[in-house]
Symmetry: C2
Subunit: 321 residues, 2 copies
């Protein structure tokens, strides 16, 4: 059986994975999920990226929105606001809250996040093995301007949800990453993988955060398997999200070749760019990364499946080379 | 200003209080609420009786049901059940959950329950000062038959909600009461009261539990104010709830005179019985408790106000005697 390992953020990663399953129906797919976006709110432990993957693959996602639950209601949020409890900017739905209650209780009872995630997935049956990147606490902070003219760091969710990424980001810090360890199964999955894929997730705050956990970058770089990534930028702009802004924060230009070079040939064997970026192909290949231009818009499941197929094909090409 | 102190359980106490406010519009009303029914579920601290009083007086109660929130939804409960999380028998509504989230967070931050209750009441403006009987943990347990032929103790909510009080209760134990202290303000309110009232709340698991906190029984017994109670039994049956069953568990007959004698003249100066129980009046008076037969069905707010008026009148009679 082919073993595929995918490093995934939220919506982009989840939709790619939904395309990957039918593209590789017999494969054993392991997902290493970003937990740098995790946040504690109202005493609840919230793991937005893990949940987006779980809900998307398990059929519970709010399809149009891309995150949160279908048929969601917001009675708890309304009431918390009526009590004047902060923060009010995080859109916590009632159905979603049940997931956080179960997770928080299990963590409180001493289970590591990886065991909790497995228990939650027992309900959702996502069809992949979903692993958090780490069982340790890592929190992505974004450095922004402070009112006093200096700078301050805010939680990624505050930057993204409350501030809508509308203020300049000067740096991205995965707080706690330096002392975090990969969750059980992560390094083994990378070592035993036949293919490793970077979906069009954010290269800084999603895949970059996963790679910041000591041991994971090295395991990807040292893996026997071909590593193929899909550009999250098309024509220099992110399909969704704020990849351009957080790339700027770490000094990387918002173009697909720059992102490929940022990962570098140490990590990447192959890189898929959109047809609009075909002129980036020679530049990427010059950097030692095999590159193809293929449609990269996940407009529907079929498109995502076609993209996943292209990624697997490029991986085979790399392997054969 | 007249100072009225009421020892209250849940629905009966709350509806009586809603009648008392218009019956004594200028009075300062302090409510000492039962917390023996409190339960931790899903990591949340739930105080059913305090909330019933707060919601009822604050206009947020589910009117027909008598407990829980109006316009309630149950998305969280549905989802918890879908995860297979126990228990499923406690009817936790979405709006209600927000109250428990705020409470649990404040308790976790180190605030005592009395301060938390005050903060929650800042939203609901119940028009009374609502005090928990204690800031300490007291949990009413009910002794029932065990499958092995022996006996076991279950949480009051399990007896009442899960088992619907349909199994024999052999004893009632307010676990932790012996080391609990009255919450700040409780003893002072009793000492300074002009009138003390026992609404038609459960004499065992509501008022009995409040009185089990060391110092409270003594403060009621020693108070300068007249103490008047209203019978929770009419014609030997509870108007609502399971007073008859828990009275049996502590060896008290399910009739209004027996309940009056159970409180005793050390606590009670006056006792109101229903017209159906008029023949109990001489028996209660023989026990040294002034007694009147008046309508005791809180069929609507006006009826509750009339009952409160009768209780205050009997208190004046006691004072003048």
């Amino acid at each position: 059986m082919r073993r595929i390992v995918v490093l995934a953020g939220g919506i982009g990663g989840a939709r790619f994975l939904r395309g990957l399953r039918p593209a590789a129906p017999d494969a054993e797919i392991t997902v290493i999920g970003n937990t740098g976006d995790d946040i504690h709110l109202f005493g609840l432990k919230i793991c937005p990226d893990l949940d987006t993957v779980m809900y998307t693959l398990g059929g519970g996602i709010h399809e149009e929105q891309g995150w949160g639950r279908a048929d969601e209601s917001f009675a708890v949020r309304e009431e918390l606001a009526a009590y004047g409890v902060e923060p009010t900017w995080f859109g916590l739905g009632d159905r979603d809250i049940a997931t956080h209650i179960v997770r928080t209780q299990m963590l409180g009872a001493g289970y590591p996040l990886s065991a909790v995630t497995e228990a939650l997935c027992a309900r959702w049956q996502p069809g992949v093995k979903l692993l958090p990147m780490t069982d340790d606490r890592v929190e992505t902070h974004v450095v922004i301007d402070a009112p006093d003219g200096g700078r301050r760091a805010v939680h990624f969710q505050e930057y993204w949800v409350r501030l809508r990424a509308a203020v300049p980001a000067h740096g991205i810090v995965p707080v706690g990453a330096e002392t975090a360890a990969p969750a059980p199964g992560v390094l083994q999955a990378l070592a035993e993988a036949d293919v490793i894929l970077f979906p069009p997730s954010n290269p800084v705050v999603s895949i970059g955060t996963i790679l910041s956990v000591p041991g994971i970058r090295e395991a990807v770089a040292g893996a026997a398997a071909p590593v193929v990534g899909l550009s999250p930028l098309i024509g220099g702009a992110p399909v969704r999200g704020m990849a351009d802004k957080v790339l700027a924060a770490i000094g990387v230009a918002a173009d697909t070749a720059a992102v490929a070079r940022h990962y570098g040939p140490e990590l990447l064997d192959g890189w898929l760019v959109a047809p609009q970026d075909a002129d980036a192909v020679p530049e990427v290949e010059k950097a030692g990364i095999r590159c193809r231009a293929v449609p990269l818009l996940m407009s529907d499941r079929q498109a995502a499946t076609a993209m996943a197929g292209q990624a697997l094909e490029l991986a085979e090409e790399v392997r054969a080379a």
